[in-house]
Amino acid sequence: MSLGPFAESRALSMGVELELQIVNLHDFDLSPGSSDLLRLVGRRTLPGLVTPEITDSMIELCTGVCTSHAEVLGQLTEIRDALVQCAAQLNLGLCGGGTHPFQHWSERRIYDTPRFHQVAELYGYLSKQFTIFGQHVHIGCPSPDQALLLLHGLSRFIPHLIALSASSPFVQGTDTGFHSARLNSVFAFPLSGRAPFVLTWDAFQTYFDKMACTGVVKSMKDFYWDIRPKPEYGTIEVRVLDTPLTIEKAAAMAALVQCLARWISMDRPFDPTEDDYLPYTFNRFQACRFGLEGTFVDPKTGEHRTLREDITTTLAALAPHATALHAGAAIALLRGELAGMGNDATWIRAVAEREQLLPEVVRQQCQRWAGPAP
């Protein structure tokens, strides 16, 4: 199978995908409800799409193609409100968070489609451990070469995005010590990691063809990279974010990626090189494990500082782009989090510490997801 042409898309347009947890309202464990939820949501007209995910206690929503933070937030609000109403009709709860804090993976059921069953057959227990919930952000690129340039430029900020969005400290009832334990599950997949360092679409095509020849991959879907090109949409897709606990945070993270993309493609603050990837896995681990307090090794200078410091510097550099993209509110929200509690993982830990009951933590996550009562 070939890669296909790189579709045209408007520069810096964006789309957001969010994977959500479906829980019952008795003990707040994951609950199989995606087909019931899809049936009810299907009766409404919404912007974007709501689709099933690999196990039937997950559901995915995505926005249409948006140009601004406000538009993303508007669409997310509309879809969220509809989903929350439908879930209430079914006695189900919906929440964000990169992992469910106490679900048992062996009890998960694979959603009934051929592709999901194929994946389940191939990866065995990994596919059920893949009951994890992420946010994907698509950024439109005018040409495939620019897409690759943007992809490798954004790689520098993968640790920043992980640390800010991390919301998965608990796995199967235990505090993992990580801020994003979800990504540990992703890293277990053989084709996870980063894209090869090529800067032209022709070179990328050659790489893909060689991989396809080995029979290891059939389509781009088989790569679980942190950022990957999506030729059908003409976008690059950032995949490292944990699903945040609120849609406001989700929209802010999308806007942050958009601002970064504008900065990287217009100002060219640094030239991407293969050597940028030398501290890549170290930085990524630090972000997953320690969140904002993790160490960040500057790939150009080798300097060490905390992610919190580098994020603050980055946000300052983004200010003109945030103004140009009308994303001021999004950046302000992220600054507020930096100054206040930190990321969602810290919030989850604090609630777990106070309540001493993980189902109660999930209940409060549902409350935050549903937003203020209308």
Partner: protein
């Protein structure tokens, strides 16, 4: 010779006498092993095995006496059913009924129309007004014991599971209220005592609500201080529940209403989730096993001969009406037609609740009760083994059992 030997070994009394403890132990062994056998060999819920032991006991005794549910047997049934009703009640989320009014309407319609249809069908069969009224009331409720036990044993989850729980809680509530009104009506009919007809149901409802509220308060108070998943706190919880049920019995309140309402109150007066082991761990499990053996032993061949046909008509009418109501409300309340059919099946079991209501009728109107017994005993007997199997079937049909949909994808290597 043997007598002398026994005397030498100081075995007194001789010949040996088997007491209640001996028979109870035997019941546990037989129920436990048959339950496990049907579970492993036939893949059926364990309670099928427990009930089968009960039915066997009834055959060996050549039919249970009609005044069966008295003394220690009644105590066991009250306690076991109380546990299951408390658990059921604690899963009833009243906010759900507000968010989905169609569900509330279907649930009410299901209870009321099956009551009316069963009443009409029994009248058509030639039963007297009062007998038809009593039979329709006693068989209104779905067996909380059967659905609760089957769903937790099979770890089912989904819309059919959720809805059968809330609908059973609702139709049990309606059945108990209606039952008290029927008893009041019978009072009026036989002794013409207006005062008793009005004050007695009021006392039962009000008193049961108060005891339930008290129980709810105590449980919540304990839960704030202890971890409910801890074995010792579960024992404490079990003790409280048993105490409340005993008080209810001593005050002549409803042993069905108290635990059910306490569960509902607990669930709906606090947003914090309650987590405790199902059936209150092992101690509760023993009671539940004995409940099914006892209910299983309540039938007799004579009763089946007398009331079998009426019971069959009753059960068919009941299921037919449920099917129509569920199908009519399916789209509106947000489930598929297939799920509504599964729900109809899941609501069909009749067991402990009907037996307890019948026992109360036997106490208040012993003579009249003899006319009701054959039909109710037969309905219980027919659904005894069938009920759990049908519920399991329904849950499988709705794909709500673990590993169900995953098994469809075998042999699809990429």
């Amino acid at each position: 010779m043997i007598d002398d030997f026994a005397a030498y070994l100081q075995i007194v009394p001789w010949p040996m006498q088997a007491d209640v403890v001996f028979w109870s132990a035997l019941m546990l062994v037989a129920g436990g092993s048959l339950g496990e056998t049907v579970f492993r060999r036939a893949g059926l819920p364990r309670i099928v095995g427990y009930s089968a032991v009960g039915m066997l006991i009834a055959v060996l005794n050549q039919g249970a006496s009609s005044h069966y549910l008295i003394g220690v047997v009644r105590v066991i049934v009250d306690l076991a059913l109380g546990l299951l009703l408390f658990e059921l009640g604690s899963r009833v989320n009243l906010r759900w009924l507000r968010a989905n009014p169609a569900l509330l309407c279907t649930s009410l319609a299901e209870a009321i129309f099956s009551f009316l249809a069963v009443f009409a069908a029994l009248r058509w069969l030639g039963l007297s007004l009062n007998v038809a009224l009593a039979c329709a009331t006693l068989t209104l409720a779905t067996s909380a014991a059967v659905i609760g036990r089957v769903s937790s044993e099979l770890h089912s989850a989904g819309q059919v599971t959720e809805r059968m729980v809330i609908m059973t809680a609702l139709n049990t509530l309606i059945a108990v209220l209606l039952h008290k009104l029927v008893i009041a009506w019978l009072h009026l009919d036989t002794v013409g005592d207006w005062m008793a007809a009005i004050t007695q149901p009021l006392y039962t409802f009000g008193g049961s609500f108060l005891v339930a509220a008290l129980l709810r308060g105590l449980v919540a108070w304990i839960a704030r201080r202890l971890n409910l998943r801890d074995e010792n706190s579960v024992l404490l919880l079990l003790g409280l529940l048993l105490l409340a049920l005993t008080v209810a019995r001593m005050l002549n309140l409803s042993t069905l209403l108290v635990p059910l309402l306490a569960g509902v109150l607990l669930r709906n007066t606090s947003v914090r989730p309650w987590v405790w082991p199902r059936h209150f761990g092992t101690a509760g499990g023993v009671l539940v096993l004995m409940l099914f053996v006892i209910v299983g032993a309540s039938w007799s061949v004579q009763a089946l001969a007398l009331g079998g046909v009426a019971a069959l008509v009753l059960l068919l009418t009941r299921s037919l009406v449920k099917a129509v109501v569920m199908a009519a409300g399916a789209h509106w309340s947000g489930i598929s037609l297939r799920q509504s059919m599964a729900l109809t099946l899941a609501l069909s079991p009749i067991s402990g609740t009907a037996l307890v209501l019948l026992a109360d009728l036997q106490i208040s109107h012993p003579v009249f009760a003899t006319q009701v017994e054959p039909v109710v005993f037969s309905a219980i007997a027919i659904m005894e083994l069938l009920g759990p199997v049908v519920v399991q079937w329904a849950l499988r049909m709705a794909s709500e059992l673990p590993g169900h949909s995953a098994s469809n994808g075998k042999g699809m290597q990429p």
